[in-house]
């Protein structure tokens, strides 16, 4: 007695969010049925397997038919095939574009190409996210990337409008697009302790402060690329480490400000030159695409790791960086030679400072927490 055909179609779409999630997670119909049965949703209903199976099949089919529409969410609102209440539409879209942090961490900064797609089964095995789900997430990244790549204006806003995503999710996608576009290296072992949310935060800072769009919304270019002029101007920071006088002045300014405020003062004073050199070197090399890719790894190696070995706390780092940049400012007042430079420095470095500072401290916080855990 085989059921040859079994369909159930409602005038208004019939879906359970639980089943939708199972579908998104890449469960096969049979596995989904198992999960649902185990979930005990049906206890009160004395539902047999075949009832659950039939329900699951119906919903899976519905989702498959919807999937085409979900690829361009704006269509979902004015398509006629399914009658979907607006709040359902929002849920459908939001969930479809939601992703697993573990998965995205793996592909972050990689080129969204066929080559990467081939590696998805490895990533799936590594992260425990089902291959089907990996494919969906990867395709989502790619789709969003493709659409916003050509668009002008603010990145987050573009994503939100074209994919009808929530603000939070749109920001995450902006980060993914930004990373993919600039191909930041994030896969190195030393960077593994950073979660996607850490990196997404940094990306948000970079987008807001280091891109062309950050300066002027009317500019033709968009948020995806770092501002070349700015990177060029960063080169002029070199003077902070090449000019011996300036370096000493800078150091003394910072040390005066820091004295007595932190336990790690001695290490700070001792390492000032090293650290400053590290930071400035990273900043001045950024005109080189290769070095842009290594931005995060360089930051960790040249700045965060030395601090870590000196047992700085996150507060120490914050303090240090605040005064480091403030003092650089002050230098400006009695160094008339570098007026022009400092002018540029102010417009551009101040946002950069925030980024660097927050990024570093955040990263450090992470790190120190791990170290602390290890010690205890």
């Amino acid at each position: 007695m085989a059921v040859e055909l079994d369909v159930f179609v409602g005038n208004t779409i019939i879906m359970s969010e639980e089943v939708y999630q199972l579908w998104l997670d890449g469960y096969t119909v049979n596995d989904a049925v198992k999960v649902r049965m185990e979930g005990g949703v049906l206890d009160e209903f004395d539902a047999k397997v075949d009832v659950v199976l039939s329900d699951t099949m119906d919903q899976y089919r519905t989702f498959q038919m919807c999937e085409r529409l979900l690829h361009s969410p704006t269509k979902l609102a004015n398509q006629l095939l399914f009658q979907i209440p607006p709040h359902r539409q929002a849920t459908l879209i939001e969930r479809y574009y939601a992703f697993d942090d573990v998965f995205v961490r793996e592909v972050l900064g990689k080129k969204l190409s066929k080559g990467t797609k081939k590696d998805l089964d490895d990533i799936s095995a590594k992260t425990g996210v089902m291959l089907k789900s990996c494919r969906r997430q990867f395709d989502n990244f790619k789709r969003v990337f493709k659409v916003v790549e050509e668009l002008k204006g603010p990145l987050v806003e573009n994503i939100r409008q074209h994919f009808l995503l929530s603000d939070k999710l749109a920001r995450d996608y902006a980060a993914i697009v930004f990373f993919a576009n600039n191909r930041f290296e994030t896969g190195k072992r030393k960077l593994q302790y950073l979660t996607f949310q850490d990196l997404a935060f940094c990306a948000g800072q970079l987008i807001n402060n280091w891109t062309v769009g950050a300066v002027d919304n009317m500019v033709e270019d968009m948020d995806v690329d770092l501002d070349k002029d700015f990177l060029q101007e960063l080169k002029e920071l070199k003077v902070l480490i090449t000019d011996k006088d300036l370096l000493d002045q800078h150091k003394s300014l910072v040390c005066t400000a820091l004295r007595g405020k932190t336990k790690a003062f001695n290490e700070m004073e001792a390492n000032f030159k090293n650290l400053s050199r590290g930071l400035v070197n990273i900043a001045t090399k950024l005109t080189n695409t290769k070095d842009v890719r290594d931005f995060f790894i360089d930051l960790v190696e040249k700045f965060i790791e030395p601090c870590r070995s000196d047992h700085w706390t996150a507060a120490d780092m914050k303090l240090y960086l605040t005064h480091y940049t403030n003092s650089a400012h002050i230098l400006d007042t009695f160094k008339s030679v570098t007026v022009i430079f400092m002018y540029l420095f102010c417009t551009f470095i101040s946002p950069a400072r925030v980024t660097l500072f927050i990024f570093s401290s955040l990263a450090f916080l992470k790190f120190s927490k791990a170290a602390w855990l290890q010690e205890s």
Partner: protein, 1041 residues
């Protein structure tokens, strides 16, 4: 030129990519009406073309306007090869031909292709200018309104109910023409779709003519069906009830008196005609077609035909041949000899009536006949088919007479075809109607009629027997009515109509289904037909017994909405009887079910019997509780009832301890065993008992019925979900016994119901209404069951006095982040409660209004908050989402949220381009709303075919998307007419033919319904709602630009 049709093609969107190279499409549109075709310019390289064409004008006869659909074809221009068709839209312009209906058709229509399904959408504007044509001999019947609704449409008043109209049109099926061998499947499907559109247009026009002739202005309960007879052709037939409807001017209260010309004309014409010649009366249904009574016998000898002896169901569990109508004529009362009597067929397709219309109900009458099909030689003279139906109708009429009734209500006709064998069936409920409705021009709906009739109160009057108790057409047990104690009533009543609104009942109703599967030998021609017709009476009897037993098991005593379908396949016959059981307090309480063994003395069997008996008694008790059947104190009845014969009484109150004496007596009187006593030694009985006890009652919070309204539930809330479900079962082993087959079939139906309960569990408390099952045997070893129904929520406790306050305060006290859980609940119930309370009070609620308004806006605010809260929480973690599920499903069940959140959200990123919501329901009303306008009848026929079945997800995937597409097209047409709902929606046909080996499948679906505009009952003013509509309109307009 009596009419000018104008069409304008505005734009397209979401078109498919037709040019692989550029990933774009060069689309243009052909607009065709009759033989005239216009084309738009090609809009190059776009998937969202903006044609913005001129107005294409067609000057046509109104006859054509009625028959022809407007045909819009979207094509892809190709310079070098033939243009590729993207898809088509057929627009029925009939709704534009009534004066008061839609004035323009405007909106987005799905572009439909029979191979690919929906491929984008097209925005079209259609208008009609009609010139008044007073030609007496005109062939058109513009202006006659059609309603699928089987009651007097809301907002109208039936001045006169003229009676039965019928017509059928036949043609050759394009699928079977020789040309089909050389044309593409697409061309053949399109030819078929177009032909059926044309035929149904023609059919409506012809019926309209008959209505005009009778003096009516509308057809209510319009039922149109297709018979795909294969080789022998295509028949489109329709029946309906002609009426003169008057629009009730709502609100103002001034009733326009019907002294208008058409009405008075109408009331004179039938009777006048009647006097002049008894044959030329108003509703002679075959008026236009050649009279065929003379030659029919000759035809019959040509075409093989078997007339099946028919059963009359009166609820007595007996299958008597109701042919002895003779002596009864004398019993008919003087009053009933009205115009009705003289009509050829005093039939009414209506199932519910204005109060006072229905005087007495006799019982179900049905007739079936088995015919052998042969090619329709001359499509213009469909006399064979006409004669067949005429025969059956005559039979029904005589059955009704035998029951002492002069009319048949809740009348319907159907066919089942397998190869060359065709079973024609007709059924209805014999009844006596108030003749005033037939004759007089002016009637007040309630009120004074009862003065003229017997003084029985309307709550029980319809139960009183119309026949004479001394000359009963069948053995029946009569008692005095338990209400008025003056008239006799039968102990059980079966009908095909809805429960009259004023009937007194106890408890709630219940869906009852009898299923039967009978094997039959494969055969050919006459032998096959004879074999089938020999089986039919037995099937009917068995179905009837099942129904009766199940009714007793639920301790109910009446069935409404009874619909018996018998389907024929190559090697089996399927019978499915569905009805809604009710406990009518006017009728005596039903007895229990007694199990008896054939061989007393055997201890084992005795024990077994006792066990079964106990289970049955338990089930009865359980059911009583579930359906809240608490008949008013029975003991009193026994003492005080004026029933004369003690023997009868003892029978009526027969308990489980029925004596064997009576048993034998019953055996004598019936020639069969009593329905209440089941002998377990009998294999049939074992099966019966088994099926009785395996019928699971619906889970808590669920009720179901197949009638318009669920008896015993009145406090509907406005959430509803219409659905269609189709299941096909393949019988794996060919050598099944009847019994095993029955089990399979029963399980199939039961599982379907269980499935519905499960899928719709988020709507609890809820009722599945208008459950319509239709069975078919598409191929050998396949059983197909298609169900359309609506799930409606209701308020569990309506007695609550001031329910609005409590939940709100509760909502307040809750922490904000928990709001989303409780809020949906309480806003829902509060709004509902306020609604129902206002309904109950019936007082102008302006005093409450302001507070309520404030409440609702406040709630809206909260809801908005809840929304944002939820949005925030969406992404946090996947595990919590399963929790949130229960919330959103609740929300889903609240229609208020639908409307409100839409407006809220439109300000959000959706840009307001969302599609307006169209509700669909098989019922004639939408709970919590008022229908303000009927904008036109929807009658659509679609074919879908695929040659890549596997790629589309198998048969299920294929049908799933097709059904969704059909819904989409219906909604689009309704929206284009300006409507926001479809009522009385039904899926008449769903014919599925598959060939998995060739990776092919074809499906035909026919749907119909009435497009309406409704407003929420809570909206005090119509303007309020129109503002609402306007809002959504503008927002959609915004989105379009």
């Amino acid at each position: 030129m009596p009419g000018k049709l104008k069409a304008k093609i505005v734009a397209g969107r979401h078109l498919p990519v037709m040019d692989r190279a550029s990933d774009l499409t060069d689309a243009f549109v052909e607009v065709k009406f009759g033989n005239t075709t216009f084309k738009t310019d090609v809009y190059p390289k776009s998937l969202n073309p903006q044609w913005n064409s001129e107005w294409f004008k067609f000057e046509v006869d109104d006859e054509d306007l009625q028959d022809e659909p407007l045909q819009i074809t979207v094509l892809d221009h190709d310079t070098y090869s033939a243009n590729d068709a993207i898809g088509k839209v057929y627009i029925d312009i009939d709704p534009l031909l009534y004066s008061e209906a839609a004035s323009v058709i405007s909106g987005w229509f799905p572009i439909y292709d029979t191979i690919h399904g929906i491929r984008g959408e097209i925005n079209v504007l259609v208008k009609v200018e009609l010139f008044n044509d007073l030609n007496r001999f005109r062939q058109s019947s513009c202006g006659v309104k059609f309603f699928c609704t089987t009651s007097i449409p809301k907002g109208y008043r039936a001045a006169i109910v003229h009676g039965f109209v019928e017509e059928l049109v036949v043609n050759e099926d394009p699928e079977y023409q020789w040309i089909d061998r050389i044309r593409t499947p697409r061309a053949s499907n399109e030819a078929r779709q177009r032909l059926i559109f044309l035929m149904s247009g023609e059919l409506q026009r012809k019926i309209g003519l008959k209505v005009l002739e009778m003096g009516g202005n509308a057809v209510v309960g319009y039922l149109q069906c297709f018979d795909l007879e294969g080789e022998s052709g295509l028949v489109v037939r329709a029946i309906g009830t002609a009426c003169t409807l008057e629009k009730l001017s709502s609100g103002s209260g001034t009733h326009t008196h019907p002294n208008t010309a058409p009405a008075s004309n109408a009331c004179n014409s039938p009777s006048k005609d009647g006097k002049e010649s008894p044959l030329a009366h108003g509703c002679r249904s075959t008026h236009n077609s050649p009279v065929h009574s003379a030659c029919s016998s000759q035809r019959l000898s040509q075409n093989f035909s078997v007339s099946v002896p028919t059963l009359i169901f009166t609820g007595m569990g007996s299958g008597s041949m109701g042919k002895d109508a003779g002596p009864l004529k004398t019993l008919l009362r003087q009053q009933t000899q009205t115009a009705l009597e003289q009509r050829e067929f005093p039939f009414f397709t209506l199932t519910s009536f204005p109060s006072g219309f229905l005087l007495h109900v006799g019982g179900v009458v049905s007739a079936r006949s088995v015919k052998l099909l042969d090619r329709i030689h001359n499509p213009d003279e469909p006399e064979t088919r006409d004669a067949w139906w005429e025969e059956i109708r005559q039979e029904i009429k005589s059955h009704a007479k035998a029951l002492g009734c002069h009319a048949v209500v809740g009348y319907s006709e159907s066919t089942s075809i397998c190869e060359e064998v065709c079973i024609l069936s007709a059924s209805g409920t014999a009844a006596i109607l108030n003749p005033r409705y037939m004759r007089e021009g002016c009637l007040d709906l309630g009120g004074s009629d009862q003065r003229f009739e017997d003084p029985s109160p309307s709550s029980c009057g319809f139960c009183h027997i119309p026949y004479d108790e001394l000359n009963m057409p069948f053995p029946a047990q009569l008692t005095y009515c338990f209400h008025c104690r003056r008239q006799k009533v039968p102990d059980v009543l079966f009908t095909t109509i809805d429960l009259p609104s004023d009937a007194a009942i106890a408890g709630k109703g219940c869906f009852i289904q009898a299923r039967l599967c009978r094997l039959k030998k494969k055969g050919q021609g006459e032998a096959n037909a004879t074999a089938i017709s020999n089986q039919l009476p037995f099937m009917e009897y068995e179905l009837h017994t099942q129904l009766m037993n199940k009714l007793k098991l639920r301790s109910m005593n009446a069935l409404f909405g009874l619909r018996i379908q018998i389907s024929v396949g190559e090697n089996m016959l399927l019978g499915l009887a569905s009805a809604t059981g009710v406990y009518l307090t006017a009728l005596p309480a039903p007895g229990g079910i007694q199990i008896a063994g054939k061989t007393p003395g055997d201890l084992n069997t005795e024990q077994h019997i006792l066990n079964i008996q106990k289970r049955i008694n338990d089930t009865i008790a359980k059911n009583k509780e579930f359906y809240e059947v608490n008949p008013p104190d029975l003991t009193e009845e026994v003492v005080g009832s004026p029933i004369p014969e003690p023997r009868l009484r003892s029978r009526l109150f027969r308990s489980h301890s029925e004596s064997s004496d009576e048993l034998s007596e019953l055996d004598l009187s019936h020639g069969k065993k009593d329905a209440f006593v089941l002998e377990v030694d009998d294999t049939d009985a074992v099966e019966d008992i088994h099926s009785l006890l395996t019928d699971a009652s619906p889970p808590k919070g669920f009720y179901s019925c197949n009638t318009e309204t669920m008896p015993g539930i009145y406090n509907w809330t406005s959430a509803l979900q219409m659905f269609t479900s189709v299941r096909v079962l393949r019988l794996s082993n060919a050598n099944l016994s009847n019994q095993a087959l029955n089990k399979v079939f029963t399980d199939l139906c039961e599982n379907l119901l269980k499935s519905f309960y499960f899928k719709l569990r988020s709507m609890i408390p809820c009722c599945l209404s208008h459950l319509v099952f239709s069975v078919a045997v598409p191929e050998e070893d396949l059983i197909q069951v298609a169900v359309t129904a609506v799930a409606m929520t209701f308020d569990k406790d309506q007695t609550q006095e001031k329910p609005a306050e409590k939940p709100i305060t509760k909502g307040c006290s809750e922490a904000e982040d928990q709001l989303q859980f409780s809020l949906e609940l309480c806003t829902d119930s509060s709004s509902i409660n306020s609604q129902s309370s206002s309904k109950n009070s019936g007082v102008p609620e302006s005093s409450h209004l302001s507070t309520r308004d404030r409440c609702s806006t406040w709630l809206e605010l909260l809801r908005l908050k809840a929304h944002t809260i939820r949005r925030g929480s969406v992404k946090t973690s996947r595990r919590t989402q399963s929790l949130a599920h229960s919330v959103s499903s609740l929300e889903h069940s609240s229609p208020l949220t639908e409307g409100r959140s839409r407006s809220l959200r439109s300000s959000r990123s959706f840009g307001g381009s969302s599609v307006s919501v169209v509700k669909m329901t098989p019922l004639s009303f939408l709970p919590g709303t008022r229908i303000v306008k009927y904008v036109g009848i929807i009658n659509m026929f679609f074919i879908r075919e695929t040659t890549s079945l596997r790629e589309e997800g198998g048969v299920s995937g294929f049908l799933h998307s097709f059904v969704a597409e059909v819904f989409a097209m219906v909604r689009a047409h309704v929206a284009a007419l300006g409507g926001n709902a479809v009522v009385s929606y039904s899926m008449k046909d769903c014919v599925l033919m598959e060939n998995p080996n060739k990776n092919q499948c074809q499906c035909l679906i026919n749907v119909s319904g009435d497009a309406v505009i409704y407003i929420r009952e809570t909206d005090q003013e119509v303007t309020g709602s129109t503002a609402n509509i306007g809002l959504s309109c503008t927002s959609s307009a915004d989105g379009a630009t």
